[in-house]
Symmetry: C2
Subunit: 437 residues, 2 copies
């Protein structure tokens, strides 16, 4: 007998939960398409050479091999760990067949051999949008990505969130202004990104012990990291450092321009967060994250930013990109854990048609087909026990309406289980039009 | 520089193709839910012990391992090769939390290390429905599965298809009646299933040489295999063999009962096919396949049947199932190859809002937000070059409507690119209600 158990980190939801997850995927996909993002899908599998060297630890990547095969070809494949690297490969491979700017929206599973822990999964959904252009991509695209991710969180109907925004050019330019080398700048970014997890003392220790920075430099770095103002005040808050470096000043004006293009609602939720760095190596400009102020323990459940050089790894120069992503599975596990959204019924069925006996099943089936032709999800009970048993089934599955036919199939009654109310229905079509609008 | 190439057997579609694939997935999902099938999803990964020993060659199964890890736990995982085996495992694991009969509909990718060839993929979508009950599952469920798969093919809008139906009990009972042992019966089923590929002489050779059957027995087997009559005539066509064995007779009455429950349209497309065997070991009763008579080279693109014992492998007795499946990726590759459905535009965008200059971009964005609030997929051009350039972009992406605003954003014109017609729009909401109903 084969063993049956949960595999740690590979979530499996029960029917009501899964229906809620599907409604979230559908809400996200609708928002992405409403903004003109084309649903692209890349294979789950890439060459390992495509996956390696992108800032994700190689030991977190799942390789894929045929169980009993010696084929060399297969030995070089792995499951994608995000949707951004495959997208860069897709652009490099297919750019001749695409119209630019190209806007893609992808909702796919990805796999990461992370240590499983609460809210961390090894198989999970990412929901990404990206805009890629030829040669130049104006900041209107960055603003658009922030707006779409923000609107999508609103469309899901969650507690209030904030959009935390920063710019890699601000960080890099600020550190440069402190006289730090390019390489060390990048390493400071990675350390500052951990502020949330290790606290100021942890970051201070690392900057001092590993990167050998002086206390003065570290103090300055932490002053910037502590900066947190409404995005509308970003320019004035950064003013005192203007001239720190050309890159820093460029960072300020980019922030200001993006801010000017955000809709008012998004702007009101947006904060300049000097500590926001985002760990991934490939960001080069505007970066952002979505957080829930009432639930700080959720961490970041979405975010993204500008990345300019990723397609070059695949031999294609001049394809600047900006993207955003929602970590759906993690978000969904938080929604379940904190009951942030009501669970739907366990079945999509709206009407159960009962069956008096097997001789009259054909009447029940005909009524069900009529209801489906009006778009109403309907099922016929599979046996014909006492009606009480059939109603019990509807109650257990959260099916709201139960239909009863007489022996000739000529008249019918409908019972609304939410009100314990039963009435005679002269015409199914009329009833549908009155009930499901 | 990382290599960029197609990985044989792992399809990747361009935007228009992918949008068509997504519309098919959505049509299938809608049909499944309209009939009350709950969208379940199992992880892509199972224990290898769950996957092995189910009639699929082990060398076709992909194992999954962390690229640089020594963890023993990971070494025992593999990608699922179908959705039926994981479903049986799901039932065995979660039956206490489910209401029976449980009806699931799953649209997921599966992986099989098959030799890649035209129309055969290593990563592909399967779209499955299954009904599982406690202890007994009446034939109403078999008829329902056939009806839903048939209706789903109709909903996609493809050329006419036929539903080929048979019953494992007919085959097994017939062979038993010829005095053949149980084990040999099963092997005959596998050989007869190859009739399509190897022809009568191929099957004859194998039955004689490998299974050592006499010419008389082989002739009888082939007479049954040649049987092909409208399903409404199934009983009379099989009448001459009635009494061959108790199992055979049971097979006839099951066919008759299922046939009686099919809607007329489905019945008219349905054929009793004495050669239909379906290779998989787990079927125990009614089996069926969808074929396209005008395109015999497509082979079977959907099918299924009754399977009674699969959950027992996972320690759960008494969960009879019946299921059906659509091989979407193969179907989709045939649709593309034969241009059976028109390709949609490469973008979901319905309206492109042009931008006169960067100072007036905010007017364009406001108009776009208004259109989106009415549910119309809208994008704003990302730069502000001459309007001709912006119209070219809309043409290239198949965006039908282009909106122009004056400098103050107070008036707008809309151009319908399908008619080369331009008119002034006093009110966006009115225009939307007249245009997108």
């Amino acid at each position: 007998m084969a063993k049956v158990k949960n595999i740690s980190g590979f979530p499996e939801w029960l029917p009501s939960e899964r229906r809620l997850e599907e409604s979230l995927l559908s809400a996200i996909s609708s928002q992405y398409q409403l903004h003109g993002f084309t649903p692209i899908e890349t294979p789950s599998v890439e060459l390992l050479t495509t996956l390696f060297g992108n800032g994700v630890e190689e030991k977190e990547i799942y390789a894929v091999n045929r169980a009993h095969a010696g084929e060399d070809d297969d030995a070089s494949l792995g499951l994608h760990f995000d949707l951004t690297v495959p997208f860069a490969r897709f652009i490099a491979q297919h750019h001749h067949a695409l119209t630019f700017p190209f806007k893609r929206g992808s909702l796919q599973k990805v796999w990461r051999g992370d240590r499983p822990q609460r809210g961390r999964f090894r198989e999970f959904y990412q929901c990404d949008i990206d805009i890629v252009a030829r040669d130049t991509l104006p900041l209107s695209a960055d603003a658009e990505v922030v707006e779409v991710i923000d609107k999508t969180f609103c469309a899901i109907g969650l507690p209030p969130h904030t959009v935390r925004i920063n710019n890699r050019k601000i960080l890099q330019g600020f550190y440069e202004g402190l006289g730090v080398s390019d390489d060390v700048c990048r390493r400071i970014i990675v350390e500052v990104d951990k502020l949330d997890k290790v606290g100021e003392s942890g970051v201070r220790r690392c900057l001092s012990e590993v990167l050998a920075l002086t206390d003065d430099v570290i103090n300055e770095i932490l002053v910037l990291a502590r900066l947190e103002v409404p995005i509308s005040e970003c320019e004035s808050a950064l003013e005192k450092w203007r001239g720190k470096s050309a890159l820093f000043d460029e960072g300020i004006s980019e922030l200001r321009d993006v801010c000017a293009l955000l809709p008012d609602e998004t702007k009101q939720r947006s904060i300049l967060d000097g500590s926001l760095a985002r760990g991934l190596f490939y960001y080069t400009g505007i970066i952002f994250e979505i957080r829930f102020p009432d639930y700080p323990e959720f961490g970041s459940l979405g975010g993204g930013g500008r990345y300019e050089g990723l397609t070059e790894r695949f031999g294609a120069r001049g394809f600047p990109c900006v993207g955003g992503s929602i970590g759906l599975t993690r978000l969904f596990s938080m929604i379940l854990e904190h009951s942030l959204l009501p669970l739907p019924s366990s079945s999509p069925t709206k009407v159960l048609v009962t069956v008096m006996n097997e001789e009259t099943r054909r009447h029940s089936m005909r009524a069900a087909r009529e209801l489906r032709s009006y778009g109403v999800a309907t099922e016929v009970f599979f046996k014909s026990p006492k009606l009480g048993k059939q109603i019990e089934y509807a109650v257990a599955k959260g099916i709201r309406y139960v239909l009863f036919l007489n022996e000739e199939g000529s008249t019918c009654d409908i019972k609304d289980l939410s009100k314990e109310e039963q009435k005679s229905i002269p015409d199914l079509k009329v009833w549908v039009s009155e009930t499901f609008v």
